[in-house]
């Protein structure tokens, strides 16, 4: 009899806590968002604007990592070049503001595209530009896999980096300042708390979008492309276009975070495009838990806290980051989220 009488040799998971694990996961998720929201709120009330801006930075890095997590965690595409989209988003914000300030067009011929200091226009342009870049990079890179994919995405990102570095019009290696933070209708974006709330909204939206997508048919196909692409093709779904679209969406989210990041700092430079940035985002995804929805947020909180607390003590704080990363990879493969919220159920 093959029926259910077959004893499973593996130790069975205790059946009862299934529901409570689920609840615990939701509690952790709500807890993380609540901390992220309440910390800058109280800092603002106490007059510590520095911490409000720090929270905005954390939020945007988390959002960028949410984008990367869609590629790495859900799609199994280990991109080592997401700084390209993060930085490009930053440059879209910077260049657009620069031309709006100058009253010169971004592109003068054959069609005229004026500069703009409207965040809405900048976000739209960012999604378009980052999506296009990801389409080009993805089309080529997704023909490879494994180590080759990692290297080719890195190579493309480095091309973008060196291009920005050597293009004098927009500051080259010195970067490009944004003199006045870009604007939104009816909102004072200069106010640190208001700007934090915009960033927070962006993070929540990208989390909600990722969650929704991964529950849809597209998500089911992407999951199968990661777990077993032969099965997906045998079922009649070609894996390549599914991956490519996921890669493009991933880049758009990271790009949007980058556009806001440039606005936060009032400055964009090739540093945002460098491979250190790609590496940082990757580290955050791994710290938080690869393929966990709230992993990037948990990872970003850990990362920024270590940077702030240990970075104040020693400039070699990354030594400790390395140790923590080592511990996570060796002992907590599901990252901070796996540790806080338990394993993901199938």
């Amino acid at each position: 009899m093959i029926k259910s009488t077959t004893p499973s040799l593996a130790p069975r998971r205790v059946p009862t806590p299934a529901a409570s694990w689920h609840d615990r996961k939701h509690l952790v998720q709500i807890g993380l968002l609540a901390v992220l929201l309440l910390a800058p709120l109280s800092a603002y009330l106490l007059g510590h604007v520095y911490y409000v801006n720090l929270a905005s930075r954390l939020t945007l890095i988390a959002m960028a990592a949410v984008g990367l997590n869609l590629a790495i965690g859900y799609g199994g595409m280990v991109s080592f070049g997401h700084a390209a989209y993060f930085g490009l988003g930053g440059y879209v914000a910077g260049i657009s503001a620069y031309h709006a300030f100058d009253f010169t067009p971004v592109i003068g011929w054959p069609i005229v595209i004026p500069g703009s200091d409207s965040m809405l226009a900048i976000w739209l342009a960012t999604m378009l530009v980052c999506g296009l870049l990801a389409l080009v990079i993805g089309t080529v890179s997704l023909r490879t896999s494994g180590v080759y994919f990692i290297m080719i995405t890195l190579a493309f990102a480095q091309m973008v980096y060196y291009f920005a570095n050597s293009w004098p019009t927009y500051g080259g290696e010195d970067g490009l300042p944004i003199y006045l933070r870009n604007s939104l209708p009816m909102v004072d974006t200069q106010d640190p708390l208001t700007f934090f709330l915009i960033c927070f909204g962006g993070l929540v939206m990208s989390l909600a979008l990722t969650s929704r997508i991964m529950k849809s048919r597209f998500g089911a196909a992407l999951t199968m492309a990661r777990l077993n692409e032969t099965r997906l093709a045998t079922a009649g779904i070609a894996p390549y276009p599914i991956r490519l679209v996921a890669f493009v969406i991933s880049a758009m989210i990271t790009g949007l975070a980058g556009a806001l990041y440039a606005d936060l700092n009032g400055f964009v430079s090739p540093t945002m495009l460098s491979w250190h940035m790609s590496g940082e985002l990757m580290v955050i995804v791994i710290l938080g838990g690869v393929g966990r929805l709230y992993g990037p947020l948990a990872g970003a909180i850990l990362f920024v806290m270590m940077e702030t607390l240990l970075g104040g003590l020693t400039e070699y704080w990354k030594l400790f980051l390395g140790l923590v990363l080592l511990l996570v990879v060796l002992f907590a493969k599901h990252g901070v989220m796996g540790w806080l919220a338990g394993r993901e159920r199938p």
Partner: protein, 247 residues
């Protein structure tokens, strides 16, 4: 020939000096099980790979329901109704049985670029997937991750996945591989109930199963078909006995 669902015409495939497929011509008719047997290294897997689309033949043509599919991709062939199972189970281990089968029903309903509606309450996916599981008597395992299944159950899931495509043709690559006598007998029974719904091209080592199930048998040796006929004819064929049955 005219009413055949699947036709292979003069297929050839060469890897360097090795002729893995040698002028293979065979067909599969509605309502039959056509078994493909042959000793190890006869080129069965290479032939299956060419039918499924993961290998391109050097020459020759493959037709599915009258349509030339020789240059189509694996996914395109699957959409045209070619369901297959693998010699070594190829399933998504961490996912539940139901999720594995649902991917096939999803593909049936057109493109997968639908980003909004959650699949877990999409009846148009759940109903046919559940039906396929029922056919393979797996309903009670629907919510179990594949990683927790026995070997025999995995083989059944493989077939259920292929069935969920509502295929015109089933291509089963050694479905009995690694099954004990009991599991093998059980799967044989399940396949027997299927054959009038969908014709099956069966590659199998288990001779009991082949002789019981197959309406026609083709024997592949060194890449070429050396004999062709019903079970009695194959059993009696001296060439086959020498090459394969071992006496």
């Amino acid at each position: 020939m005219t009413d055949a669902v699947l036709t292979l015409a003069h297929l050839n495939k060469r890897f360097g000096a090795l002729q893995a497929t040698r002028d293979v011509t065979l067909d599969l008719r509605p309502g039959e099980i056509h078994a493909l047997i042959g000793p190890n290294g006869a080129g069965k897997s290479t032939l299956i790979a060419q039918i499924a689309g993961s290998l391109k033949p050097d020459s020759g043509g493959i037709h599915l329901a009258g349509q030339e599919i020789t240059s189509l991709s694996v996914a395109q062939r699957a959409r045209l109704g070619l369901g297959r199972s693998f010699q070594v189970s190829s399933l998504a281990e961490p996912l539940t049985v139901l999720r594995n089968v649902m991917i096939a029903t999803q593909a049936l309903q057109g493109h997968s670029f639908r980003f909004w509606k959650p699949v877990h309450r999409d009846e148009s996916l759940l109903t046919p997937a559940t039906a396929a599981l029922e056919r393979m008597e797996l309903t009670h395992r629907a919510d179990t991750p594949v990683s927790e299944l026995s070997h025999g159950e995995r083989r059944q899931v493989e077939v259920a996945c292929a069935l969920a495509l509502t295929p015109r043709v089933l291509l089963l690559d050694e479905p009995m591989a690694g099954l004990g006598p009991e599991g093998s007998a059980r799967l044989t029974e399940l396949l027997e109930t299927l054959k009038h719904e969908v014709p099956i091209l069966l590659v199998e080592h288990d001779m009991d199963a082949v002789f019981r199930l197959a309406d026609r048998i083709s024997v592949l040796v060194a890449g070429g078909v050396i004999a062709h006929g019903d079970s009695a004819a194959i059993r009696a064929n001296p060439q086959v006995r020498e090459a394969y049955l071992g006496d």
